[in-house]
C-alpha cells in the first residue's frame, strides 16, 4: 500500500502521521545485538522442538492405544478367554513403550541442548519473516521522526508540493477532502482523481476530477473527450481549478445529456 503525495501532505499537516527517516533508523547491529538475536532464534526453535516432540509422542501413544484397543475388540469377538489373559501383558507392553518414549525424549532433550535440532527426523521449525522492524534492537526511529512538513522539508524527506501544478492539485484535493469525498488516483480514467461518496472498498466513484490551470483554454475537442471519458464509465467528468485571487476552488461537471 502506498499513499498518494496529497495524502501524505494532508496527514502530515493534520498531525496524524509522522515521517520516519528509515535509512537512518536502521543501524548496523552491534556484536552484542547479533549474539542476542542468535540466542533468541535458537530459543524459539527449541520451544518449537519441544512442542513438536510432545505432539509426536502423544500421537504415537494414541495410535498405539488405538491399535491395542482394536486388537482387544477383535479378540473379544473371537475368544473371550484369551483376551483376559492378554490384558496384563498389554499393560506391561504399555509400560515398556512408555519407558522407551521417556528415553527417547531424554535423548531429544540432550540433543536440544547441543542445538542439533535439524538432526531430528521430520522436524522443521516455522520461520517468521518479519514485516516490521520494530522488534529489532538495531532499529530505532528516535530522533528520525518528523512531525511537520517544514521539518521534513528541511531534512529532504518530503518535498511535495514543489511546483505550482502540485500546489493547485493539493488545494483542490484538500477542498474535496473537506467536503467529505473519498479520493483515489484517477489515472486509469484519464483524470487526476476519482471521487467516491463512501469508502472505495464498498462504493463506486461518481466523479473523475481533473485539475486545470484557471487560465487554461479548453478546446471543443477537449470537452468532447472529457464527456466521452466520463460517459463510457458512467461517471461525471469534473473540471477543477483553483482561483488564486478569491482563494477558492471552481468546479464544472461535464456529462452527456443523452438527447439523441
Amino acid at each position: 500500500m502506498t499513499l498518494m503525495p496529497e495524502e501524505v501532505t494532508l496527514l502530515l499537516s493534520k498531525g496524524i502521521i509522522v515521517l520516519v527517516d528509515e535509512e537512518k533508523s536502521h543501524r548496523l547491529p552491534t556484536q552484542v545485538q547479533i549474539e542476542e538475536f542468535k540466542q533468541k532464534i535458537s530459543q524459539e526453535e527449541n520451544i518449537q522442538l519441544q512442542e513438536y516432540i510432545k505432539f509426536t509422542e502423544e500421537k504415537k501413544l494414541k495410535i498405539e492405544c488405538l491399535r491395542k484397543n482394536n486388537d482387544l475388540s477383535q479378540d473379544i469377538k473371537g475368544e473371550r478367554n484369551i483376551a483376559k489373559e492378554i490384558s496384563p501383558n498389554d499393560l506391561k507392553e504399555k509400560d515398556v513403550l512408555f519407558q522407551q518414549s521417556q528415553e527417547f525424549q531424554d535423548q531429544q532433550n540432550s540433543l536440544n541442548l547441543e542445538n542439533k535440532s535439524s538432526k531430528i527426523q521430520g522436524f522443521a521449525p516455522v520461520v517468521n519473516i518479519k514485516t516490521s522492524s520494530t522488534s529489532f534492537a538495531w532499529y530505532n526511529y528516535n530522533g528520525n521522526c518528523f512531525s511537520s512538513i517544514d521539518l521534513a522539508k528541511q531534512n529532504d524527506l518530503w518535498v511535495w508540493p514543489s511546483t505550482l501544478k502540485d500546489l493547485q492539485k493539493y488545494k483542490i484535493y484538500c477542498d474535496l477532502w473537506n467536503q467529505g469525498y473519498y479520493i483515489t488516483s484517477g489515472i486509469k480514467f484519464g483524470g487526476d482523481y476519482l471521487l467516491y461518496p463512501g469508502d472505495p472498498l464498498r462504493y463506486h466513484s461518481h466523479f473523475i476530477a481533473i485539475v486545470l490551470d484557471i487560465d487554461k483554454i479548453i478546446s471543443p475537442m477537449d470537452i468532447i473527450t472529457f464527456g466521452r471519458l466520463g460517459t463510457t464509465v458512467k461517471k461525471s467528468y469534473m473540471l477543477c481549478s483553483w482561483n488564486q485571487q478569491q482563494d477558492k476552488a471552481v468546479y464544472y461537471c461535464l456529462e452527456w445529456s443523452g438527447f439523441g
Partner: protein
C-alpha cells in the same frame, strides 16, 4: 428508476475491474473454495444509504483489509530459501540455502554461487520464500524495502516486476544490448527519407523530420484513396497544378502519361514522401536528452521447471518500459525510436501468440513495447506498436478485377 440504477451498477462493476483493488474478504474466505490467481474485488454499491447492511459490509471489508495487512509471514523452514544480502556497490543477495524450484527462472550463477537481484529478493521475501540476513541478523520486509529500493530498482520498477511475476509471467531484467540507445552510428548512416525539394531553413527541416512518421502515415492513407480521385489527378490538369505548387516542380505532373497496369504503380508515383516506420527512422536525431526510458524487463510466458533456460530464454513476449506518472513526461519520438531500435524484432508467430484478441491494427505487428505507467499503487499498461503501415494494402475491388484480367 431502479432499473437504471441497476444498470449503472452493472456497468460500473465492469469498468471498475480495471482498478487493481482487491476484495480482501475473498482472500480469507476459507469456507469457500479458494479462487486461483489474484483475488478479484467483489460487488460494490452505488452510494452509501446509511443502512445497517451497508455498514456491516463496510466493517467486514475494513476488517478483512486490516487482517490482510497484519498477517505475519510464517513458513516452514523446509520451504524457505536463505540468502545473505550484500550492500552497495554489490547490491545483490547470495543464496545460502536453496529450496523449491524458484531458481529455474530467477537468480543467476556466479562461480557456482546463486545470486539474486534486488527485485528477486524482495519478491521472494514478500511471498514467504526467502529469509534474508545481513550483518548476521535477519532483515524485516520494512528493512528490505528501505535497503533494496534504490539505484536502478525504483519502487515503480519493483511494483511492475512484482505485478507481472504474481500473475504468472517469467520476468527477467533486460540486459543492455550492444546496439542500444547510446549508439550514435545509427543516425550517421542517414538515408534521405524526404524526397521533396530541400528547404532552405535548416531548423524547420529538422522540425519536419522529427514529426515525420506520424505525419507520413497520414499522407500515405490520403494517397490510398478511391479510384476516382486518381483518375482526376491523371486527367485534370487544374487539380494537378494546384498539387504541383506544393511540390515546386512546376511543370511536371507526378504521374506522367504512360503505361500503368496496376494501381500500385500509380501509387508509387504519387507517393511524394516515402513512408517510414518507427523501426527504420535512422535520420532522426538520436542524440536527444535522456528521458529516462529504457527497456527494463523482458517478459516471457509462464515457464515450467526444466523447460525454461535462463541463458537462452528465446524471444520475449513483451519488452516492458517502466514509467512514473508523477515524474516522467510521455516519451518523445526520438526516445521511442531508440527504444524500438534497441532490440531485434521477434518472430511473427510469437507476437501473435501474445495477443489474445487482435485488433486490425495489430495484424501486422512486428515490434511492440509495453509501457507500464505507475501512479502510486496503480499500474496501467499501454502498448506501443510498430504496425508497418507501408505494408498495409487496401484491397480495392477493381484491383482484384484487374488482376483476374491479367491472368
Amino acid at each position: 428508476m431502479q432499473n437504471t440504477k441497476g444498470n449503472i451498477e452493472e456497468i460500473n462493476e465492469q469498468e471498475d475491474d480495471i482498478n487493481q483493488e482487491i476484495d480482501y474478504i475473498s482472500l480469507f474466505a476459507k469456507e469457500k473454495t479458494k479462487v486461483r490467481g489474484i483475488p478479484k474485488r467483489g460487488s460494490k454499491d452505488f452510494e452509501p444509504d446509511g443502512s445497517e447492511n451497508q455498514h456491516d459490509a463496510l466493517t467486514s471489508s475494513l476488517n478483512a483489509l486490516q487482517n490482510a495487512l497484519s498477517e505475519e509471514r510464517n513458513v516452514s523452514s523446509r520451504q524457505l530459501c536463505k540468502a545473505i544480502w550484500h550492500r552497495a556497490p554489490i547490491s545483490k543477495a547470495m543464496i545460502t540455502v536453496s529450496k523449491g524450484s524458484h531458481f529455474h527462472n530467477m537468480g543467476h550463477a556466479i562461480k557456482g554461487k546463486m545470486w539474486l537481484y534486488p527485485e528477486e529478493c524482495l519478491f521472494l521475501m514478500d511471498r514467504c520464500s526467502l529469509s534474508m540476513q545481513y550483518c548476521g541478523v535477519d532483515m524485516s520486509l520494512q528493512h528490505a524495502y528501505c535497503e533494496i529500493i534504490g539505484e536502478w530498482l525504483t519502487l515503480e520498477k519493483y511494483q511492475v516486476y512484482a505485478y507481472l511475476k504474481r500473475i504468472g509471467f517469467t520476468v527477467l531484467r533486460a540486459q543492455p544490448s550492444p546496439s542500444s540507445s547510446t549508439n550514435t552510428s545509427v543516425c550517421s548512416q542517414s538515408q534521405p527519407l524526404i524526397q521533396t525539394p530541400s528547404h532552405t531553413n535548416a531548423t524547420s527541416h529538422q522540425l519536419q523530420q522529427l514529426q515525420l512518421p506520424w505525419f507520413l502515415n497520414r499522407i500515405n492513407s490520403f494517397i490510398i484513396s478511391p479510384f476516382i480521385y486518381i483518375t482526376n489527378l491523371l486527367n485534370s490538369s487544374s487539380v494537378l497544378s494546384s498539387r504541383k505548387s506544393a511540390n515546386k516542380k512546376e511543370d511536371q505532373s507526378l504521374v506522367v502519361p504512360g503505361e500503368y497496369r496496376t494501381y500500385e504503380q500509380v501509387y508509387k508515383k504519387l507517393q511524394i514522401i516515402k513512408s517510414s516506420s518507427i523501426t527504420h527512422c535512422h535520420n532522426i536525431d538520436v542524440d536527444v536528452e535522456d528521458e529516462g526510458y529504457n527497456i527494463d524487463f523482458l517478459v516471457y510466458k509462464e515457464s515450467a521447471p526444466g523447460k525454461f533456460k535462463k541463458k537462452n530464454p528465446g524471444s520475449p513476449l513483451f519488452h516492458v518500459v517502466v514509467a512514473s506518472a508523477e515524474t516522467q513526461k510521455p516519451p518523445s519520438l526520438p526516445t521511442l525510436c531508440n527504444l524500438f531500435n534497441s532490440f531485434p524484432s521477434s518472430s511473427q508467430t510469437n507476437s501473435s501468440q501474445s495477443l489474445e484478441s487482435q485488433s486490425p491494427s495489430q495484424l501486422s505487428t512486428r515490434k511492440n513495447i509495453l509501457f507500464a505507467i505507475v501512479d502510486g499503487s496503480n499500474i496501467s499498461f499501454l502498448e506501443y506498436n510498430d504496425i508497418m503501415f507501408d505494408n498495409i494494402h487496401v484491397n480495392l475491388i477493381s484491383d482484384h478485377v484487374e488482376k483476374k484480367m491479367r491472368y
